[in-house]
Subunit: 261 residues, 2 copies
DNA sequence: ACGCCCTTGTGAAGGCATTCACAAAATCGA
DNA sequence: TCGATTTTGTGAATGCCTTCACAAGGGCGT
């Protein structure tokens, strides 16, 4: 009973890039979603100074099964050495290249409320090839203020700036009511990839990718599983919290592996 | 080329609740993830005063294919009327019941930075059966402050309050470095459902559900697709933005349907 | 009452993704 | 040089989910 896996799977943007980009065998959506996780795990290893890693231990760090990891990596080519493992730096670079993280991409962030500010401040942004090109908001109270070295622009300037800065990816962090409108304007200005935090299903033309992060949905999914848990086993539950409290940091393999399905 | 579908699918927590809860046929994870979306679409219809809806139009509103929607709903039982459609209010209630949204659940939020504040302020929280029972932070500067009618508690009180308030679901919105520690303490205090915003793979015992919201991963997936787009068709791209700008609000069915795969 | 039309609910088929399990490759020690 | 050992890369099997396509069911007009 764990989320990690499916979480990634469902995340995949849809089909149709399948026939694109060269004659190499197409990379499944589910795999693309996991590459990001491997990337993070590898970054961790680099910092620890580990130069080589086996599929088994990298899989453990990423919370997946090792066969899956090897199959995922095999879509990128053969970068492992049998009997040894993968070169951490090399693999990291290959994944970065595959995800297109080497060319940096201009990102526009629309909506500078708490969420927007949290996103703007997220370190993973700058460090991973994403460069915030512009911040927008509709509220006159925040327009003009400085945030992370950028001035917040009025959303009326959206089309103009998006075109000028060649923004490829936009992040929508505005209230639900304004999201579709912002989305339409982004698309009209040439944006083809959107990350949407507003709780609405955006309508877009077919050539635009939308990914949605939906807090309410996440909570409701947890609620579903939680209600099933309490339904059965009122006793098993009691056993867990009273007799067998989970001891953090026990280093037990069965524990750290739990996320791997 | 659209995200919606897979996004949901991947979201599903894993297996093993399959055999649980009654003799009814088990609800697939992918379906559970979409129920939340249907719920939102239905809420919209209720506000518009629409009393009955066909699978076709509800599917359009939710951005999925109508056969999928019908199959999803069929897991809940037979609440539609052939030749007519679904009663909006009834269906809404059934979905709420299925997701366990009727009994309200105590939620603890750990980490009250920008992200935490955004989450605490999210309206969908209170209105949908989730009740924030406690806010925690480690920073003395914010501990004691008032937020949404709740006082921010020091994270040292976590175990104590979580047990006392019978918190079922916890939301982790702390920096990566502190996340595993907070997670361990939550699990030790009896929490079995966790929504994690920190960019780390949490290790948890098997009976705990973890769902992760990963901004960096989302961005990287968009990046991947975006780089494929610019790789092929430098010209098709030009055609889109110059000759055929997307006209918002055209009401074109092919547009609003784009999200449905 | 009856037949027409609409929409649901669902077997069956097909497509992806995960998992299994093993042959192929590479190192290391003797 | 050779065999033992380790770990990758991948065909094959399995399983889940989606999509198709249609029979069954229900309202409505006449």
């Amino acid at each position: 009973m764990t989320a990690q896996d499916d979480q990634l799977d469902a995340v995949g943007v849809n089909a149709d890039q399948r026939s694109a980009a060269g004659a190499e065998r197409p990379i499944p959506d589910a795999t693309v979603a996991r590459l990001a996780v491997y990337l993070r795990a590898l970054s961790g290893l680099v910092e620890t100074g580990i130069a080589t890693v086996s599929s088994e231990s990298l899989a453990a760090a990423a919370g997946v099964n090792s066969a899956k990891l090897r199959k995922d990596l095999s879509y990128l080519g053969s970068y492992g050495v049998r009997g040894v493992g993968y070169d951490v730096a090399l693999l990291l670079e290959q994944i970065r290249a595959t995800l297109g993280l080497n060319e940096d991409r201009a990102v526009a962030l629309i909506g500078v409320g708490h969420l927007g500010q949290a996103l703007a401040g997220y370190a993973g942004f700058a460090t991973r090839g994403f460069q915030i090109a512009a911040l927008f908001d509709a509220d006159p109270a925040v327009v003009g203020s400085q945030l992370r070295g950028l001035r917040v622009l009025h959303v009326d300037l959206l089309e103009q700036v998006v075109r000028a800065e060649r923004v490829a990816i936009a992040v929508i962090a505005v209230p639900a009511a304004g999201a579709q409108d912002v989305c339409n304007r982004l698309v009209a200005a040439g944006v083809t990839s959107i990350l949407n935090f507003a709780p609405v299903v955006l309508a877009v033309p077919a050539h635009v990718d939308v990914r949605k992060v939906d807090l309410a949905a996440e909570m409701q999914i947890l609620s579903f599983h939680d209600s099933r848990k309490s339904a059965r086993a009122e006793d098993a539950q009691a056993r867990f919290s009273d007799e067998q409290p989970f001891r953090p940091g026990s280093g037990d393999a069965s524990v750290s592996m739990a996320a791997a399905k």
